[in-house]
Amino acid sequence: MFGNLSDRLAQTFKNLRTKGKLTPADIDTTLREIRRALLEADVALEVVKDFIAAVRERALSDEVNQALNPAQQVVQIVNEELVAILGGEQRRLEFAKNPPTVIMLAGLQGSGKTTLAGKLANWLKDQKQTPLLVAADLQRPNAVNQLQVLGERVGVPVFAPEPGNGIGDPVKVAKDAIEFAKKQQYTMVLVDTAGRLGIDEEMMQQARDIRDAVNPDEVLFVIDSMIGQDAVNVAKAFEDGVGITGVVLTKLDGDARGGAALSVASVTGKPIIFSSTGEGIDAFEPFYPDRMASRILDMGDVLSLIEQAQRAFDADEARSMAEKMAKNQFTLEDFMEQMQQLRKMGSMKAMLAMMPGAGQLREQIDNFDEREIDRTEAIIRSMTPSERRDPKILNGSRRLRIARGSGMTVTDVNSLVNRFEQAAKMMKTVQKGGMPTGMPGMPAGMGGLGMGGGKGKAKGKDKKKGSKSGNPARRAAEEAARLAGEKPGGSSEGNGSAFGL
């Protein structure tokens, strides 16, 4: 069983890349595999058909035959077509010339509109805007209440004159909200609306009425990334019914293959602007079409990973850590601190899954137990400060004490100490400018990983194009280095490398 679309395509291309020359039959086989992979990833059937046709046409042209490595060329084409459908460049939110900018959220029931409203408000607040949330979902029980709680949590006022639960007129609420926002000089107005079915004419009319009442600068269509073939119908219905200006993809942190992104973008021609990626209020980011395509093509989502790291890592802390390592003073205390910082980045698994080449590591990732970190932490916490600073003093009796204190066995303690020593050694190598080879043991690997965020600039000097390394950690770091000099978007050049082509 393949993990996801990335894996499927990687598998397909593995067969391709052994060939120097492609026959039409080769291409057909490959395209069949791609079709299947896309369908299993919930890309809409009509989109798959168009996509396959486009790729086939290009794959049969001279473009491929004259290429040095035809297989790589097909990969390239698939990637380009994916990016093209996903909307090419990333689009930003449109702001009104005269505030307030009005954003209306629309979508099916349970697609995550209300939660997204809270996240968006939080994000806008970080952008130095003064948003106002408007509770115009008066249908679902306690949607108003939910929005109020979210507003309170992110410190954004909520305009909610009606209690909801079927009482009140959402059109009037929306209208009044605009007046209110103008008077109070809010710069952004976020209108949360009730979930509705595309075929529910009455409710779609209501959505149009709300739209006409608030005259929004953006109508964002919120859609669950787990949606299947129906994405097309729903997107069309909302496009025809309310007229959308952009799309938000929610629950992207799940393991859904995310074909909906392709379907919706392709059918509506509207860009995906944001993606929502977790339970936390800040699990929300702009959508990067090229990154999504890379993710689909098993190039990993390195850019998102790095951004996440940067958010979680304190630059000063990272610097002092680097200094410590330079002076060979890296201790178990620092090790633990680092692990805690990593924790801030979110689930280890989610992070690993974003790494390029993660497809092949899927099993390892699946088997990775997040609690391993807890156990490691428990062991370190059972040490005295002097032991943490200098693990060399750990004799048998100390180790036994630590094992008892942390509820682990002496073997566990031993292996932690060993791993720590390895990690310390590895970091020394890193400090000298190289990267160790081979996939390190988990916590040690994390140690190496953890440096990704802080070390971007340090690595700037050994700027290589497209690493050939099979080690994801290494590629991540190198990708980071490449980034220091380049703007995101120049993905085409590195393409082949991720497949080792």
Binding site: E40, Q109, L147, G166, M203, G254
Partner: protein
């Protein structure tokens, strides 16, 4: 028909239970008093449905107050109701939509529909063939049609192969014949035993656990289920164990009110959901309630920590009473990821049944085919709207007929 079978079970269990020493745990007071104090005593054996539970103090919303269900249903009506014990009721004969349900209910309406067991949902599903060209001469088109309904590549191929085989065997040519074959292929492969809700245990209260990813309609389903059970004179306690999402407790509280069920919620924000579930069950035991439905927070199946939280809820509840049903709620719009969801939830929470929601949209929910096929977990309920009556028991033939249209 009423809730005859239902009450029977209940009486049997209730009488069995009166002898057993009661577990007294008046530790925790429930968050909210029950809205309705329905006549609960077990030995009420009423034949007609019309005796209808009158819910005291309905909330301002147009909630169903009195069921104006006219007269006792003839017992001979084709009732696809799940029968826990063999009764001489006639087997459900696949006849086209016994009684078309009202077209659309966007809000709870005071009007009572058919009883759940007799409600037809076939008419609520949009046909696979709506707006699609189906050329009887080219059965390969059928594969695309099935793909569009989220059956997935493997299932679609298998179904089409089977239809082709049967069509060749009987020499079916016309569209009607082929569609009939498709209906029977789908019905046969969707047929699974154990489709009825497990309401037959020896010991009350029965515990139902609702699980699923975010936004699939768990809370709404609980509201509908609770209302139906309350109508059958089961005393229902709802445990609001979604302590994570903002205002989730309030949302389920609103449904509890509508349904006339007792709500047990957390004492403070972010309380361990397992403890809420535990208290809910304890409360039910103290109150001698019949059924506890535990609402849980939506969680994506790849979040290990949240999934282990779920198995903890189950473990903790089972300290008091065994869990009778773990219902996985699946949104009909869900694509192939639905299978991953079912696998993951089945693993941590031993799912006993699936609830397919939102089939009133354009989505068909074809993924349940694979879920049943691969995991053997039956679809038990089907939901189709926001009204409190908008659900029915799943029936393979009805689903198939609805899909083929």
């Amino acid at each position: 028909m009423a809730f005859e079978w239902f009450k029977k079970v209940k009486d049997k269990v209730a009488s069995a239970i009166t002898e057993t020493p009661e577990v007294d745990t008046s530790l925790h007071a429930p968050l909210e008093a029950p809205v309705a104090a329905p006549v609960v005593p077990a030995p009420v054996i009423a034949e007609p449905v019309a005796e209808s539970v009158v819910k005291a103090a309905p909330e301002p919303t147009p909630a169903p107050v009195v069921e104006p269900e006219a007269e006792p249903e003839p017992v001979t009506a084709a009732a696809p109701a799940p029968e826990p014990e063999p009764e001489p009721a006639p087997e459900p004969e696949p006849e086209p939509a016994p009684e078309p349900a009202p077209a659309r209910v966007s809000q709870p309406e005071p009007e009572r529909e058919l009883e759940v067991g007799q409600r037809s949902f076939a008419s609520r599903i949009r046909s696979l063939f709506t707006g699609v060209q189906f050329d009887p001469a080219n059965l390969d088109d059928l594969e695309d049609i099935l793909l569009l309904a989220d059956f997935g590549v493997d299932a679609s191929e298998a179904i089409v192969a089977e239809v082709k085989r049967l069509a060749a065997a009987v020499g079916a040519k016309t569209e009607r014949e082929l569609k009939n074959i498709l209906v029977s292929v789908l019905t046969n492969s969707l047929e699974l035993p154990n489709r009825e809700l497990n309401l037959a245990g020896e010991k009350l209260p029965y515990v139902f656990l609702m699980v699923g990813v975010n936004g699939v309609g768990k809370t709404t389903t609980i509201g509908k289920l609770a209302a139906w059970l309350a109508e059958g004179e089961w005393q229902v306690v709802i445990g609001a164990a979604d302590t994570f999402r903002a205002a989730a407790v309030e949302q389920v509280a609103t449904w509890a009110k509508r349904a006339g069920a007792k709500l047990v919620g957390p004492d403070r924000d972010g309380q361990d959901p397992a403890s809420v579930a535990f208290i809910a069950v304890e409360t039910a035991v103290t109150d001698k309630a019949d059924i506890v439905i535990v609402d849980t927070a939506g969680r994506l199946q790849n979040k290990l920590d949240l999934m282990s939280e779920l198995s903890k809820i189950r473990r903790v509840v089972e300290k008091t009473v065994p869990v009778s049903e773990v219902l996985l709620v699946i949104d009909a719009t869900t694509g192939q990821n639905g299978l991953q969801q079912a696998k993951a939830f089945a693993e941590v929470a031993q799912v006993t049944g699936v609830v397919l929601t939102k089939v009133d949209g354009t989505a068909k929910g074809g993924i349940v085919y694979s879920i049943q096929k691969e995991l053997g977990i039956p679809v038990k309920l089907i939901g189709f709207g926001e009204g409190i009556n908008d659900f029915a028991f799943f029936e393979a033939d009805e689903f198939a007929r609805g899909l083929v249209g």
